[in-house]
Symmetry: C2
Subunit: 190 residues, 2 copies
């Protein structure tokens, strides 16, 4: 099952080899995957901002709020920051109800990133007004998700959940551990 | 690019060979794909109801609202109805904000369905109270999405969009046409 392997490898990565740069065309190909994915009522209200240059990345980075559960970590240090971003925005001139279109699109993009040898993180915790001002995003667009991308340098390990505690954590080797609920807890019958 | 091909084949199908039945285990494997996908704050608040028997399918079908743009079509006829459903519900005892978790999960599941030789449709237009009563879904669960699944018997064709009209339509051979916005309309710069 090729897809299962791809999904298994598509972890949320937050530390990257920043010296590795991403081609703009690579991110365009990832947006193409989102374009071909389902959209509620086929409205296709999502638009995409692509950032790959070090300068553009420096403009986006401060608006990203990183890893809420890692209290003494403010996000990746210089040298370990993302090499690219895809910012998903919703076009209010098409609809004001984006449903879960950006979740569908983001998953297609992140799976494609894995296939392209990249990795990253979907981020909904965003300093939205700061980002809007910095990138001069017109009011008609709603800022929905930031997909931070790069060449991951961290190992992410899926653990069995203990006592229902969903908080991810880092071990002494900086490996990132993510507790997941077991399948039999997710499938229910009434 | 294996993923692009998979995404390209993952169209929204609404007519099926109902004589083809789906194994319950197949749908469990699809939920496993959702389990391994990203979840906001790693909260993992989604649960899944699986229906594969003709009887269970008959209980779900009347609560699905089909294809809003096809005004003179009330949904698939007997013999062309889905052979299975995955109903995604949100557990309010974990969170009341599901973000786009169900979009991410649904895309993983639908891609997995394609890989398994199935197809289907994500449906958010649901007679929610009717479904809740029929399946006796407790109030603590929010009904988020129905994924209708089966062996597709229709051809879905992606067209270039004309005059911004996003409405899908059927041709004389009952092929389903879906107009998609071009990539250069989706990627924007400010």
């Amino acid at each position: 099952m090729i897809l299962k392997n791809l999904i298994f490898k598509t972890r949320s990565y937050r530390r990257f080899d920043e010296s590795f740069r991403i081609e703009e065309n690579t991110l365009k190909e990832l947006v193409e995957l989102a374009r071909l994915s389902a959209s509620g009522g086929n409205k296709q209200p999502l638009k995409y901002l692509i950032c790959t240059s070090p300068e553009d990345c420096r403009r986006v980075f401060p608006s990203v709020i990183w890893a809420a559960y890692l209290k003494d970590w403010d996000g990746p240090e210089p040298g370990e920051r993302p090499s690219g971003y895809i910012i998903i925005i919703g076009d209010n001139s098409i609809t004001e109800a984006f449903g879960v279109d950006h979740g569908i699109a983001a998953q297609s993009i992140m799976l494609g990133a894995t296939e392209a040898g990249l990795g990253g993180c979907m981020i909904a915790s965003i300093k939205r007004e700061q980002l809007r001002n910095e990138l001069k995003i017109p009011e008609r667009y709603e800022i929905l998700l930031i997909l931070a991308l790069g060449k991951p340098v961290e190992k992410v390990i899926i653990d069995e959940i203990k006592d229902g505690d969903v908080k991810y954590w880092r071990d002494a080797e900086k490996n990132h551990h993510v507790p997941k609920r077991p399948l039999n807890e997710l499938i229910i019958n009434f």
